[in-house]
Symmetry: C2
Subunit: 202 residues, 2 copies
Amino acid sequence: MKAKSESAEKTRQNLLAAATNVIRTKGYTATTVDDLCSYAGVTKGGFFHHFKSKEDLAIQATDYFAKMAQGLFTGAEYNKLQDPLERLLGYIDLRKNILQGEIYEYTCLLGTLVQETYNTSPSIRAACRKHMDEHIDEITKLVSEAKEAHCPDASFSAKSVAAFTQSVLQGSFILAKAQDSPLVACESVEHLKNYINSLFIK
Amino acid sequence: MKAKSESAEKTRQNLLAAATNVIRTKGYTATTVDDLCSYAGVTKGGFFHHFKSKEDLAIQATDYFAKMAQGLFTGAEYNKLQDPLERLLGYIDLRKNILQGEIYEYTCLLGTLVQETYNTSPSIRAACRKHMDEHIDEITKLVSEAKEAHCPDASFSAKSVAAFTQSVLQGSFILAKAQDSPLVACESVEHLKNYINSLFIK
């Protein structure tokens, strides 16, 4: 029984990874259940054993993707830095440093999904919003700690600055797709870093 | 003959407007030729008289959308301002002021299309890139003039700042879709304006 449940869990993980990669490559609507089964090496029976529908898998893939991203950020070296502003800038640097490889590898499943389905799938939109909000909350914490340490009387809202970092990143991915290169995205993240620095100069 | 060609042109314009609005509402792949005919009040025969395929219409809709946007910016009041920095900030203010109404009305056809089809339609991607690049060139001109007037020795690249403005806008649209509100987008554009201002403070 243990081997069987391990194998079932592996099938499930393969389908979650397939959804994360195929949707980021060709979009949600263009991705078929057949595409996902083929990418994951799973039968249709295996697919529907684990997921009710493509939409169900996409929603669970947002959890999978967010958990993967959270692991990357939680485990990053910048968290060990003493100065909270250095931690915030370390986060921005990491976002820049991961802009490499294939476009689907560095772009965001949540932004891709919500861009396309915001009006047609309320449950996908809600899942994307939940995970985007949670990440914004994490960054808000970084900004708040840096503000408290360096400029507690500054007028900016930490949450609004955190949301801005995500606007820049999501938009950078779109320009990278148009230009078929992460360079323009790297430059935008550099401007973001300049802006963050400018907020903390007294 | 004149009435006939006028009517044919009206059909074509209706289909271009339909593509612009329906694709921004439900995405490219989910939009069918039937959706477009129904929205435009045009028969399938009428559709294929004017366009070879949905992809052909989408590409021509990028021209239609870019021309409409260019008209909005070329005719805007900020162009009359003497100080080039004021013109640049006027452009940013206008981008903020038009963030209202339905989401499909204020989001960008080019960003929506390229997000979804960058890997599956090289011709849609090329059309989006062309128009995005042209708009970045227009904004580069505004930034260059402001730099020349206020801080000719500053180290920033006008083109890179112009591309950054578009990253912020495209990403703001995604956050607005997730949060079902343009407020987060307005705040991001405010941060963009703060950043532009910070570049010109000596």
